[in-house]
Symmetry: C2
């Protein structure tokens, strides 16, 4: 059992954080550091994009030992497609952070987000790192969350607490959106902390499970970024014994982690670029979980479904169309569909319903699409948002 609450990466014991304005962006916080007061087990999932940003390459290597003590992250510049200079810059970010904290450079992860193909302004970044280390505090969680924002309109943070062995543990997290969001392994940047004590391998296993039902089930625009990373550190500062595989305690941790990941992922979608509406797509009755996931993501990702949701147009044919090309196995004549609780399709054909009532339901800010494929027992949920004029405006002039 766990309880979700509006906490931060500094909610778990032993974590400090800070967000500062280094000057990569004109006027907003753009550099964050999260640091633990002791070494932590660490695990991460990375973008599957073949073009990987320098910090992704660097951090993947740093994580070979499954131990970290700090993360440094910047927004405003992705440090991607920047060649050997980019890799050197990522290493310098880690080195500066490590030196200021008195750590080995391999204990520091690096992440970047922002525009691709422009060298990092290291003359801003390096003093920024010094300032951020200086500013580290237990109150620094919200500032760190703000400092990784790009086109986000609000910072994304969440925490959960659970008890095991009579000890209370906390999982805290932060993430950023809000374009280039598509479920294909760890979309977006996410950083999660916990004061529970876990082995690195167990932590990695829990993270993979949590990501599969959270960050991998959201979509904003179908583009998988070069910089995606979700990283978790477990420092054991809460005390208590190590959480062991196969125990209810590790299970409880896994559920708390899943709750934080799911909550953050939903915040990312709610803040999707230009989004005015949040869409939850539940698919049941699938032949396999894989099919259910494919079907749910195809509906949440369809440009035509997304524009119909934006326009509150009950054009459910587009939902069936998306199911049809999703790759999920089913027979069209067995599909049932409800929108915001109103049944519109039964056995693949429309039922009698009030079009004006459907329009009214589609005018709310949260749209629930429930599909039953009639092909089995498996289920999945995906989250998405509408496609709006504002998405086009933001991305037609991203760098201007």
């Amino acid at each position: 059992m766990h309880e979700v609450f509006p906490g931060h990466v500094t909610s778990p014991a032993g974590f400090l954080a800070a967000g500062v304005h280094a000057g990569i962006k004109r006027s907003r916080e753009d550099l964050a550091i999260i640091a633990s007061d002791r070494q932590a087990a660490a695990a991460a999932v990375f973008t599957t994009n073949r073009v990987k940003a320098a910090p992704v390459l660097y951090t993947r290597r740093a994580l070979r030992g499954n131990r970290l003590q700090a993360v440094v992250a910047n927004s405003g510049n992705a440090n991607a497609c920047t060649g050997p200079t980019g890799y050197r810059d990522a290493r310098t970010m880690a080195g500066d952070t490590a030196r200021a904290l008195g750590l080995k450079a391999t204990r520091v992860a690096v992440a970047s987000t922002g525009v691709i193909g422009v060298p990092l302004p290291m003359d801003q970044v390096r003093p920024g790192i010094a300032a951020a280390v200086h500013a580290l505090s237990v109150e620094g969680g919200p500032g760190a969350a703000r400092a990784i924002m790009t086109t986000d309109t609000f910072p994304k943070t969440l925490a959960a607490r659970f008890s095991a062995h009579g000890t209370e543990y906390i999982v805290g997290g932060m993430a950023k959106g809000s374009g280039m969001i598509h479920p294909q392994m760890a979309t977006t940047l996410g950083f999660i902390t916990t004061d529970a004590c876990l082995d690195g391998t167990d932590l990695a296993g829990c993270l993979r499970q949590a990501i599969d039902v959270s960050f991998n089930m959201i979509t904003v625009d179908g583009d998988t970024s070069t910089n995606d990373m979700v990283l978790v550190m477990a420092n054991g500062a809460a005390g208590g014994p190590r959480l062991l595989p196969g125990t209810p305690e590790l299970e409880a941790f896994g559920q708390a982690l899943e709750a934080v990941c799911t909550g953050l992922a939903k915040q990312v979608v709610m803040d999707g670029e230009g989004a005015t509406k949040f869409m939850e797509v539940k698919v049941g009755g699938a032949a396999s979980v894989k099919d259910a996931r494919k079907a749910a993501r195809a509906v949440a990702g369809s440009s035509l479904v997304k524009t119909a949701v934006f326009g509150a147009d009950g054009n459910w044919g587009r939902i069936l169309c998306a199911l049809g090309y999703s790759g999920a196995r089913f027979r069209p004549e067995r599909v049932n569909l409800a929108i915001c609780g109103l049944k519109v399709v039964s056995g693949g054909c429309p039922v009698n319903y009030s079009e004006s009532h459907l329009k009214e339901l589609l005018s709310s800010r949260e749209i629930l699409v429930s599909v039953h494929l009639g092909a089995g027992e498996a289920e999945a949920i995906s989250w998405g948002c509408d496609l709006t004029y504002e998405y086009v405006r933001i991305n037609g002039s991203y760098r201007s």
Copy 2:
């Protein structure tokens, strides 16, 4: 050798066509018939969407004999997700057309396009078929092309002529767009006629080849429709012997067919919903043709690339990002990229170029993206359009 010219489905000998206003739509032509004066070899490719419209199911069955003599098609209603009634209606459309023309019903193909999930208004459709049969003429090509339009802003027609055995042959075609366009087997509706004489199997082989480099290489919005179909009829009315496999004559036919398919496919993209710009993505240096195709389509299909093109924003990082998640094999540090002839990336890193010059180039109506992956010799070309406010407007209120 062939020559492309602005012809129609009635340009080849022995074909008549007509487009009439049956009343499915408020005020525009909405029903087309194409008929040959003799039986024709026929072949078609259909949507891979699991949810197939009734006319797709009907026509697939009718084509088992590889012989057709007429096609009846309507716009304004897709006759999809309409259950057994829908199939009965498709059969009635074929039956009515066949009777009026004095043919067997199995010699008539049926196609529909428009809104999903609404029964066909057969009280309008049946008199419409009678009127269209009555109106059939060699001048009917343009009207037939208009009658299959949905959100298209102009009718799409093209023809090509070639000579073989001292006989001149013509291939004529028409197609419609302009949403739910994504390369996954025969996107959109397309009807092609020729007065050459071919075996049905050879015709099917030529069509598959032509589709692979034309209709399967375009994308508007990533949605594969329930009604897609490209159908070709070869009636042999030009005289001359049968074009045989492995001969230069069949090769010449294949090239003319490809030219018509490619031209029509490009027209579909140019008229993409809300599109203001046409984008050609050439990928070379790929490890395989499959890789080249994947890479080209990912770039042409990326929402972020499409909005950047709309905004004339030279954000080439998004192009590399799309290549990276395309599934094509390559090493990022070997990629070269030019936009409208201006080299911007060499060896995976930006070169010196004038940002204002790039912006100027991106302000033209035709955008050429040239990628060299540095992984082999294979090439492919894909075509797409920009993503605009107008796309959102059209699809937010499609049925209103």
